[in-house]
């Protein structure tokens, strides 16, 4: 495993966007929340490449937006250009979300555990927090309602990927196994894309499992950067697929010419 990222002719932000993009398909109906540059770039790239029918509601509001570039906030109205509909009544949005008409959402989170549950509420005890975070916002809602959840984080370290969340703001696979099914919740987390690797989830235990390693990263490095024990599949772990020239060109020139995605790094 001597391959390095430079040999891919791209940077880590680009690799993460392209990897995210490829996980999307023509049936994806997605929307985004705050500080979601990687997913937003991913949706736009997928729509311009292999998934022209992908639906994306910019800021959860501007359906099928087609912005000329990505502004400093992924909730900004500067992201809404070219939209076919502005849907900002709660009645509209939550009808589409709770009925899984929107089927895809991507989470970050100050903490992520082995089952893809997320915390954005507190570091430390809820009643006497060391750090009070913004709050879960829509995490508790969308984690329960949306069948295809993607996680991402550009800072893969043991403070983010923890053994135990200080607060479960949003559900991933819950306690693992058939927990979601028992609660009657659809689907669950599909992938977690980080700056070191791509995790998928074991089909039964629903624990995170290394699906591919980014060029130059070893499984030992991933384990070291992760606060819980990472599952490793049988056999050789593949390297994350290389972006095509065309994907990189579209991302750099059309989707995100100003490099807004770098705000996450």
């Amino acid at each position: 495993m001597t391959l390095e990222l430079e040999e891919y002719g791209c940077t880590i932000d680009e690799l993460m966007v392209v990897t995210f993009s490829r996980a999307m398909d023509n049936d994806t109906k997605a929307f985004n929340g705050a500080v979601s540059f990687i997913p937003v770039c991913g949706y736009l790239l997928a729509r311009r490449t292999h998934a022209p029918g992908l639906v994306w509601a910019a800021s959860s509001i501007a359906i099928d937006a087609d912005p000329p570039s990505i502004p400093e906030s992924t909730l900004s109205d500067a992201l809404w250009g070219g939209a076919s509909m502005l849907a900002t009544s709660a009645h509209d949005f939550w009808s589409y979300a709770s009925g899984a008409r929107y089927n895809t959402f991507a989470f970050r989170g100050a903490q992520i555990d082995a089952w893809g549950n997320v915390n954005n509420t507190v570091i430390g005890p809820y009643d006497a927090p060391k750090v009070r975070l913004p709050g879960g916002g829509g995490m508790a809602d969308l984690g329960s309602m949306i069948p295809k959840i993607y996680l991402w984080n550009t800072v893969h370290n043991p403070r983010v990927f923890v053994e135990k969340l200080d607060f479960r703001s949003g559900i991933g696979w819950g306690d693992g196994g058939d927990h979601r099914e028992r609660l009657g919740l659809p689907g669950g987390p599909q992938l977690c894309i980080t700056n070191l690797c791509v995790f998928d989830f074991h089909p039964e235990s629903h624990r995170m499992r290394v699906a591919s390693l980014h060029p130059g990263v070893t499984v030992e490095e991933v384990q070291e950067a992760t606060g819980f024990e990472v599952l490793v599949p049988d056999g050789e772990i593949p390297t994350t697929d290389r972006p095509t020239e065309e994907e990189l060109r579209i991302l750099r020139e059309e989707v995100d010419p100003t490099g807004a995605r770098l705000r996450e790094f």
Binding site: R132, G136, A140, L183
Partner: protein
């Protein structure tokens, strides 16, 4: 009935200890002119309901007005954490009752619709459920007929809703223009009284000429107050965006708790009127910089 009233007069009607719901969503459309006046009038012990908020809640906390925040999220988004909110919750000076967006909307709907609860699947399997075992305001239930899990969200009574909008006539018909109401109608429907700050007054005749553009009917509105750039430093789509520089200046000032009190008193509280405040934030030049050409 003429429902026009000054920002000061409107805020005078809010008693200490009231439950006040703030409109807007994150960096958008917060009723900042009312919020600033609440700070100036030194209201105390407010319970503040804010589904997804930022600067509005932070000002009220910095002003010492808040006993409890009932919220889904308080932050400055990509521009950082809300500093006064963060510090006050960490120190225990302000109580927080955390929900999620949909759980709060369902609680507001239970109140608006006069129902013991409104069900949702939001929050199942999260720590919000055990957290609220004490409050009893939301509870996990199992449907006796299908065996399905759901969360029952009980009523959230609100004394006053404060929202910002584009225009109103003298009797209180309010136009959000275009009709992008975020979740503001949910708090309006749940509140005993609603006060609306607006960018401009329009004639009743203009309202009648295009009645499909009215967002809240006059009988849902208790008072309307003129506040040009009244959502500043948050945005008022499509007329103006949020003011990044203000958020940055505020966050920087807050990094030193000592000097922040002086900054807050001087920059936020001191200006006599909302117009004075806007002037002190850069006035016309600043306004031009945040105005959308599309407006």
């Amino acid at each position: 009935m003429d429902k026009r009233m000054g920002i000061e007069q409107a805020v005078e009607s809010i008693p200490d200890g009231a439950t006040v719901a703030l409109g807007g969503l994150s960096m958008n459309s917060a009723p900042m002119a009312y919020v600033r006046e609440i700070v100036r009038q030194e209201k105390r012990d407010l319970t503040v309901v804010a589904i997804v908020a930022g600067m509005s809640v932070d000002w009220l906390i910095a002003g010492g007005c808040v006993k409890k925040v009932v919220s889904g999220l308080v932050s400055f988004e990509g521009l950082g954490l809300a500093p006064s909110f963060r510090m006050a919750v960490q120190s225990g000076a302000v109580e927080i009752e955390e929900y999620s967006e949909d759980l709060l909307i369902c609680r507001l709907r239970a109140e608006a619709w006069n129902l013991p609860f409104v069900p949702t699947k939001a929050g199942l399997g999260t720590d919000l459920i055990p957290l609220h075992e004490q409050t009893g305001t939301i509870r996990a239930e199992v449907d006796r007929s299908t065996g399905e899990h759901y969360v029952a969200c009980t009523r959230l009574p609100v004394d006053v809703a404060l929202v910002h909008a584009h225009a109103a006539d003298e009797i209180g018909n309010v136009r959000v223009d275009p009709k992008l109401i975020w979740m503001d109608n949910e708090i309006v429907n749940a509140s005993q009284r609603t006060l609306v700050s607006v960018e401009r007054f329009i004639d009743h005749g203009d309202v009648v000429a295009e009645p499909h553009r009215t967002s809240y009917p006059q009988f849902m509105v208790s008072g309307v107050s003129l506040a040009k750039l009244g959502a500043y430093p948050s945005s008022c789509f499509p007329e103006y965006g949020h003011h990044t520089a203000f958020f940055q200046e505020y966050s920087t000032a807050a990094s030193d708790p000592e000097s922040f009190s002086a900054f807050f008193a001087d920059r936020i509280v001191k200006p006599e009127t909302w117009e004075d405040f806007i002037r002190s934030c850069g006035g016309d030049e600043m306004a031009t910089s945040i105005r959308r050409s599309a407006a």
